[in-house]
Amino acid sequence: MKMKLLVSALAAATLLPTTAALADGYPEKPITMVVAYSPGGGNDTVSRLMAKHIEPYLGTRMVVENHPGAGGQVGFTRLARADADGYTIGLLSSPSLFMIEMLRDGVAYSLDDFQAVANIQSDPILLAVNASSDYADLAALTDNIAANPGYVNVGGDGPQSNVHLQAAAFESVLELDTNFISYSGSGPTATALLGDEVDAALLSTSSALQFIEAGRIRPLAVFDSARHPALPDVPTLAEAAGAEVPSVGTAVRGVAGPAGIPQERLAHLESAFEQLLQDDEFQAAAANLGIVTHYLDSNDFTEMLDASREATAQYIDFMQ
């Protein structure tokens, strides 16, 4: 593949500091990071940021390879089928990983095909309105939705996305009926909210931060168990609505490989990502982008994926 060749050539041209290597010489060549989404999105951004900072801990370069398609299915399938030699890893994104598996026929992977390495990021969804909106708080919005079932337009990435799943959980727990409008991503959703095309929108926190800081949109509540560190004044949904809405839509992004990576290599990868997440420079760059890191080691990440799969299964049928 032309792109891969070029990137590897560029990688080879740079002097590699070999601070870390195992007895068997691993890693002796760059490690490929499969991203199942297009360049420029949330998955791609965090991967490229890691690629920029991880080299000293990994002992080699990490090369991001985008394999977008079918909402992530193409890339996830590719990762599941890759050689388990530790040279191909990828970014898993939950709940998308599970939604694809549950909504489609003939999906060629399951959770068992992956070996969790480390969780990196968690990006909860928030409910926001235009800064000039009449809805002062969540209660004002939910009251209006309750009074006019099916009439309040709520925009979000979709259809069949993690945002759509969060909308379904929101409606199901609070017994509300909104008119969910799908947009092709957080960017177009934000444009629609800024232009008053929709009454409210569900946005990933990382994509919404810049608009909140610019004073263009007003967050009403965040779907998470605790307040967001970058938005300490924004209540959680439980605080604002007095009801627990599970944060099923939170995009949880972590590194995984195909199942069967040798134990030593897995440990090497795990520790490289652990050190990366303690790197001050990486943390500063991540904070700047509104990326909230959330490190979990291989075991804890595996447990979380199992729990996330269960929660997804619980609400997936509520999506219209």
């Binding site: 991001v64 398609g69 909402g71 299915q73 259809p159 069949q160 232009g195």
Partner: protein, 499 residues
Amino acid sequence: MFEAMSLGLATAFQPAMLLAVLVGVTAGVFIGMLPGLTSTMGVALLIPVTFSFPPAVGLSLLGGIYLASTFSGSISAILLNIPGTPSAVATCQDGFPMTQQGKAGRAIGLSVYASSLGGIFSTLVLLFMAPALSELSLMLGAPEYFLLALFGVTIIASLSEGDMLKSMMGGVLGLIISLVGMHPMTGEMRLTFGLPALYDGIPLVISLIGLYSIPEVISMLNADGKAEQETRSSFTGALSSLRDVVAQKVNLIRSSIIGTIVGIVPGAGSSIASFIAYDSAKRASRQPQMFGKGSEEGLIAAESANNAVTGGSLVPLLTLGVPGNPVTAVLMGGLIIHGLAPGPALFENTPDIAYGFIFSLVLSNLIFIPIGLLVAKYCVKVILLPREILATTILALAIIGAFALRGQVGDVLMMLGIGIVGYLFTVFSVSRAPMVLGLVLGAMAESNLSRALMLVRGDTGELILQFLTRPFSIGLVLLCLLSIYLGFRKGKVAKPTAQ
């Protein structure tokens, strides 16, 4: 603001910036020329290279790639009738006929100057009017996006030379292919036969490579004469064509304005812009019969419009932080990696970077003139290669390009399949441009019509009311009606003379 601008100007002329622009433009020219390597891929490919650069330097390199590749897609369009990027499809219409007439050098010259002037026009708009325009762009929504796509469809009629029915069939085929994949609102899968490779539909680039490269490969193997090769490879008159481009002031300004506006509209893209500009130039021209047969007016319109898209597409990105097309989405990733958040804060907190980047775009628009001319001067020799070698090379590039897009073998097969359709088109002398318009506009029209309907909860009466009362909507409705009326009138006038 002027203080900030002068800070940016100083930044743009730092040696490192100039070098970055030079490298970006050179890389961009080669990336754009090769079918299958698009502007988006070029920018994505080189983002990691910019990791270690200061932000302004990295950005100006990426900007150089974007601008130069948008132009250089025309080089292969003019010389070989194969658009290097989607933005160069309209360029094939008149660029390649000029090459057949032995005017390749002049066509390249007109193309590079028109591209540069269109690009500079839109960059100046970006520099001085971006905040106001981005607020206006927020007044556009699903109804307007749908009507813009509909307006694009009405152009198919005027693009058709000769047999209107054939063109319509091409357009409809394009629209049908654009339906493949997931429904934009319901998520329902259509015409995918359970193949994940088809879930997102058939990517435009795959269709374009097949539609244009494969027929060219086949016709080359049927070999033209040596004399014809000699004619096509003549490269004269490139430098002196600047005067003739500038002489077409009205065409140039109209096309640049169209390109800039379409660039601001999210999701529209440069191929739509160049077709609309091409169509407007044809309608305003005193020699509309020359369009499609090597019209310099048509070439200038298409070229200035597609590069004018670049500045326009950066308006929503830099002022609001919303990318309007795939290239700017990748560029936004580049900004973010460098720790810069696009949006108003970009101009307030880091004016040297924001304005430095914009001024570097002006430089890129100037620098691709000499580099583009130089590269094209040597590329034209490609035409003299033995046909078998050239055909094999193009086929190899087409396959690599189709594979590189998403790394899927299925995409290569799709490309070849569409290539056979494209060959049949040339056999039955059906123009391929209407099909491209159908492909590009189908998805835009469908998703926005269904979204617009959903926003009014399926109430058709309410939607029609919106079409007639929203200020930009009613304007677009009138444009559509005018376009259809002119199409009918042309048909009536043309009939008696044809018989």
